[in-house]
Amino acid sequence: MKEWFGAKKPRSLWLRFHVQTAGCSLYPQQPWLNIVRTALEALAAVLGGCQSLHTNAFDEPFRVPSEFAAKIALRTQQIIAYETGVADVIDPLAGSYFVEWLTDEMEERAWRYIERIESLGGMLEAVKKGYPQREVEEAAYRFQREVEEGRRFIVGVNIFKEEDVEEVRRVPLLEFNQEEVERRQKERVRKVRSMRDEARWRRALDELRGAAERGDNIMPYVLNAVKAYATIGEIMGVLKDVYGTYVEPPYY
């Protein structure tokens, strides 16, 4: 931050980071095992010093989590925070030969990526060229092949498998009626539209459009539009008008 971007405030030099456990590490087979996977990943995050953490719910390979599953995810964090003691120390693994080596390795490989992205003209250009997308897809494909060819083990998926139709039946999935949700949401939007100050709403969207066209920071204008009860759809509509819509570069 200091050398590259010339940051001066000490606050800007802080490395504060949020960790979310990996959605792609959740499996629908023997779904309860996801609780264990998430706990291990969350512990790793805390050992690594994250300041903010999101733990996934075990039923997320099926759908949006139920309250039951979300609560287990929250309690997982609370067990790590209040029962294990790992949060009492700044860096519990400091000095571990292996972890230090791994950190160096990660750093070196991260630098390789940063240099590659810079050579493509920065992240925006790289995304336009589809570089990071291709890297992610490549990794996902490689991973899938490794699992299918048995070169990588996933408990319950390619080792220690069980016929688990009954087990899946016992997962208390969040029930919702799509049509009912849609009807309710439309009703809410209709209500908001009928009670808001029309002139103020129109002005807020016009000002947002102006800011977007000028290339200004649109955040204050977005906030203003939200306060004037513009819907997300309306705000997005204005921005789409000005900026256009992102189209994924095709690779297949």
């Binding site: 959605g23 792609c24 499996y27 629908p28 087979q29 390979p61 099926f62 759908r63 949006v64 992610v136 897809e137 996902a140 494909y141 899938q144 299918e148 998926v157 139709v165 899946v168 039946r169 997962v171 999935l173 969040l174 919702f176 799509q178 049509e179 189209v247 994924e248 095709p250 690779y251 297949y252």
Partner: protein, 149 residues
């Protein structure tokens, strides 16, 4: 008649063309992209719709691209709802001869529901890619031979 039939058969067959579709607000595209990539490697022609398409857009793309199969990937739990809407739209446009297959985070308990609606094949999590490739080839082959008769 039989001679005509022979003549109408091209010597090199057109690649099987699959539309891989993401419908609705579900942004989980890892699986769809792994499948698209695997099908391409297996010699299919793949059209990927990109994220957040509507049912109408998918039907239009399927007709325009003259695909053999529509593959829908869902990960947020609305697979039954989406399947119903999609099959309805296909019927409306007289394109319901295009088989629809689904995959993604579909609980095994919804398998029969989807098949009863008219989804041709459902690939549950854990289905090996090779099995998907084989089944899609068979489905496309069946449809093409039906069209030629």
């Amino acid at each position: 008649m039989s001679m005509e039939l022979t003549l109408s058969r091209p010597t090199t067959r057109r690649k099987v063309k699959v539309l891989v579709a993401k419908i609705g607000l579900d942004g989980h595209d890892r699986g769809a992209k792994v499948i698209a990539r695997a099908l391409r490697d297996a010699g299919f022609e793949v059209v990927y719709t990109g994220l957040r398409q509507t049912v109408d857009q998918v039907v239009a793309a399927a007709i325009q691209e003259d695909v053999d199969i529509i593959g829908v990937n869902q990960h947020e739990g609305s697979h039954v709802y989406i399947a119903r809407k999609l099959l309805e739209k296909l019927r409306e446009y007289g394109a319901d001869d295009i088989p629809v297959v689904m995959g993604g985070s579909i609980p095994v308990v919804d398998l029969d529901v989807l098949k009863n609606i008219g989804v041709r094949e459902v690939f549950l999590p854990g289905t090996p890619i090779n099995e998907i490739v084989d089944k899609l080839l068979r489905i496309a082959e069946e449809r093409r031979s039906r069209r030629e008769v």
